[in-house]
């Protein structure tokens, strides 16, 4: 990408390169498809996809290597709006969006739409409040803006701390996704998969920083959107004859799903009666667990010993009568797995009780918002739904790795257009996910339910063999027929198994895996770069050694990138916490820490240093406090405030942060004339005799 060509020519060249690239990628997929027909085993195909795509990203990363500070930090500020949109799309859509989203929607129906709305609507806030102004400011990082606008190292340092905290939380979720995908499709161990993925992340960003990451992200976006669309369109054609899943799902599939849900819940229909017989068994199991819990409470250790004795007697009796060996095995296993002490027994039986109670419940209607037993419970669900949307939206408009992308466009005008393209490219995937969830639900309710256990479809047995948490069928009432209540499903299966459900060859499954990998790698890249930039640019260059020469700044940045990546991979290999919670936590933290100070810094001239310090610390503090007190992982389990779940703890942090900025600013003197000029400077794309804040 030569330095001298005009922006117009550059744009034309980019279009040519990426058209060529897309054609090449499709040719590669076809080639792998031909190899599959020739009998190459699936595992080999999986490896081909994994290594070919990582090699491709490495190639782009190598071609975009740079020793220029502006290119390393902000891709030389010449990424056209359209391409920055694609790069932002890839940066944005993580493994959670690509693989998890449709599954969440399958499992929670309407209530899962909080993620769809939250992760798209947030871009309205980015467009209206931040992107154009940050582009005019035009330095390298988000803490840069805090440092310049509020003055001094304290706001900048808090910014660095918050940027590292939320990006690190988020990056762990991404590397976890990379590990899962590589291990599932190539059979590598999870820990090794994490480090293979890490290599993939580093080859993109190490040599070329933001410039390399931008051009690989564009390439990754193309792969992930192709990989997402092909199976869904195919599935839609197969089920409804309509090639537009976003229409067919609502017009043809949803009414049928709703009709089936009604039958499942109505005992007078044949399907409902069969479901009821399964539910009755689950209810019995829940009641048995409940009885044991009560017995334990009354009898304590002696009750536990008695229960164990009963099981042992049963084994002895079975052995004596020498019935069938299978039954004896089951009984022996029950003795072996019998909880060792009262605490373990209580935990196990409580889990049995709640698990079986859930399985015995009627089917929730997919399209019904806030389904619950009474008005009060519905209101709690509604409140949490809206609170989660707000946290995700404000968090979107505060996550540094996204905001940073708008530093890379050539002008304020293109920054505005670029937000449009970003959301457009994100929208393509997000408005497909709910349709996919409905189409898969239709397949399962209509075709899998009612089929015979002796002749399950091939995809069911395949995925059951891979991982029982993804899909597990058990003939509970022993009638040989699959009932809805006998299917236990993990969300990720929805995207992963779609190609097979649609009857597509394995090559498309490989393509979906490559798409998931692209989604996880691109997000991880952006996040690691954000952390390394905050540490090398804001801490090292701006605070420790402002006279550092260019070469040393880049060396420091690269070394930090490597260290952060290794720490992140190490933490990930310990498998901490729940992915969805990590992601949600990152949004709440970013929302409370950055949004109030950034937006008020632009729109309220009077906001000053003390305000920013107070706003950021109080917002972040309240959010972290609430998370710590209520999220079960930390073990405190304090009562909830107004029934708000810990994932939405930003709902308390955001208003506190805004108040903090306002109060702190009003009790201390107005900002200096220079700062007020800076505010004017960011508000107008171009002014006569303007000051310059462009970073070098």
């Amino acid at each position: 990408m030569a330095g001298q060509v005009s922006q117009k020519q550059f744009f034309q060249n980019l279009k040519k390169y990426y058209t060529f690239y897309t054609g090449g990628f499709i040719a590669f997929v076809i080639l792998v498809g031909i190899l599959e027909q020739m009998g190459v085993p699936n595992k080999m195909l999986g490896y081909m996809f994994l290594f070919a795509t990582i090699l491709l990203y490495a190639g782009i990363g190598f071609m975009a290597k740079t020793a220029d500070v502006s290119e390393y930090y902000v891709a030389g500020r010449r990424v056209p709006a359209l391409f920055n949109g694609m790069a932002t799309g890839a940066d944005w859509m993580s493994a959670a969006s690509f693989i998890g989203m449709a599954g969440t929607l399958y499992l929670s129906g309407y209530d899962g739409l909080a993620f769809v709305m939250g992760w798209t609507g947030g871009y309205c806030l980015v467009a209206l409040f931040l992107a154009p102004y940050l582009r005019k400011f035009g330095q390298f990082t988000i803490p840069d803006f805090l440092g310049a606008r509020f003055g001094g190292n304290i706001p900048r340092s808090i910014g660095v701390f918050a940027a590292v905290l939320c990006s690190f939380t988020y990056v762990i979720a991404q590397i976890y996704g990379v590990g899962i995908i590589t291990s599932r499709f190539t059979g590598l161990e999870f820990g090794i998969g994490v480090f293979v993925g890490l290599a993939g992340i580093l080859v993109c960003s190490f040599l070329g920083g933001m410039k390399a990451v931008t051009w690989t992200q564009v390439a990754q976006y193309i792969i992930l959107i192709v990989a997402y669309m092909i199976p869904v369109v195919w599935l839609s054609v197969k089920h409804t004859g309509n090639p537009i899943p976003q229409i067919s799902a609502y017009v043809s599939a949803l009414p049928k799903v709703t009709e089936l849900e009604k039958q499942f819940n109505d005992k007078t229909t044949p399907k409902g009666a069969a479901e009821e017989s399964v539910r009755a068994i689950f209810r019995e199991r829940a009641a048995a667990a409940d009885a044991k819990l009560k017995g334990l409470e009354a009898g304590g250790a002696s009750f536990l010993a008695e229960e164990k004795k009963k099981l042992e007697d049963k084994v002895a009796e079975l052995k004596a009568t020498s019935a069938d060996a299978k039954k004896t095995d089951v009984a022996e296993k029950a003795v072996k797995e019998f909880p060792a002490d009262a605490a373990a027994a209580k935990a196990k039986w409580a889990a049995d009780k709640s698990g079986n109670t859930a399985k015995a419940a009627p089917v929730a209607a997919h399209a019904e918002p806030f389904a619950a037993k009474d008005e009060a419970a519905r209101n709690i669900k509604k409140k949490n739904f809206l609170a989660l949307i707000l946290c995700l939206m404000v968090g979107t408009a505060a996550l540094p790795h996204i905001l940073m992308r708008y530093y890379t466009t050539p002008s304020v005008k293109e920054a505005r257009q670029s937000v449009f393209w970003s959301l457009f490219f994100i929208f393509l995937l997000y408005f497909t996910a709910p349709a996919l969830a409905i189409l898969v639900k239709f397949e399962i309710y209509n075709n899998l339910v009612g089929s015979s256990f002796a002749q399950l479809p091939a995809w069911v047995s395949n995925w059951q063999a891979v991982d029982k948490t993804l899909l597990f069928l058990q003939d509970v009432n022993m009638d040989g027929i699959v009932q809805r209540a006998e299917i236990a499903i993990g969300g990720d299966i929805v995207v992963l198994a779609t190609p097979e459900i649609a009857g597509l060859p394995y090559v498309i499954t490989g393509l979906v895996a490559a798409g998931g990998l692209a989604a996880a790698l691109s997000t991880a890249d952006g996040l690691l770069l954000t952390i390394a930039h905050a540490l090398s640019h804001d801490v090292y260059y701006k605070m420790i050694d402002p006279n550092a020469p260019t070469t040393r700044r880049l060396v420091v940045s690269k070394v930090l990138l490597l260290i952060v990546a290794l720490i992140a991979a190490y933490v990930t290999s310990l498998k901490p916490g729940n992915i969805l919670f990590l992601v949600g936590a990152a949004f709440s933290l970013a929302a409370a820490a950055f949004f109030p100070s950034l937006v008020l810094g632009i729109f309220w001239r009077r906001a000053n240093k003390l305000g920013a310090i107070l706003g950021m610390t109080s917002g972040l503090g309240v959010t972290m406090y609430y998370m710590y007190m209520t999220y079960p992982f930390f073990g405190v389990n304090a009562p909830l405030w107004w029934d708000i779940a810990p994932i939405s703890s930003g709902i308390f942090g955001i208003p506190v942060g805004i108040l903090g900025v306002i109060i702190g600013s009003l009790i201390s003197p107005a900002p200096s004339k220079e700062v007020q000029e800076l505010v004017d400077h960011v508000r107008y794309p171009n002014l006569e005799g303007d000051i310059s804040t462009v970073g070098t």
Partner: protein
């Protein structure tokens, strides 16, 4: 060098604030009002139950339109008030 803001600049900013406020209210209705009344909206059927359809698709289309309109409006406003940037800088 310092710069002086003229009345024209203030008008530009006021117009910016106005369009921002209008688009933000549309965003608010498309998100929170639609979410709050989702159960009621589901009684109406347009391409599926309306409450569900809005969350899955309708509101998203509104978001894309909001950003598209803002970019177009502001880029024209820049020209009109002479605060646009040079071409191909």
């Amino acid at each position: 060098m310092a710069f002086q803001l003229t009345q024209k600049h203030h008008d530009y900013w006021t117009k910016n604030l106005r369009v921002t406020a209008i688009l933000l209210s549309i965003w608010f209705v498309a998100t929170f009002v639609v979410g709050w009344y989702a159960r009621e909206l589901n009684e109406i059927t347009i391409i599926g139950p309306l409450g569900f359809y809005m969350g899955a698709q309708g509101s998203l289309i509104i978001y894309v339109a909001i950003i598209w309109y803002y970019a177009r409006y502001m880029n024209n406003l820049d020209q009109e008030y002479g605060v646009h940037e040079g071409e191909d800088e």
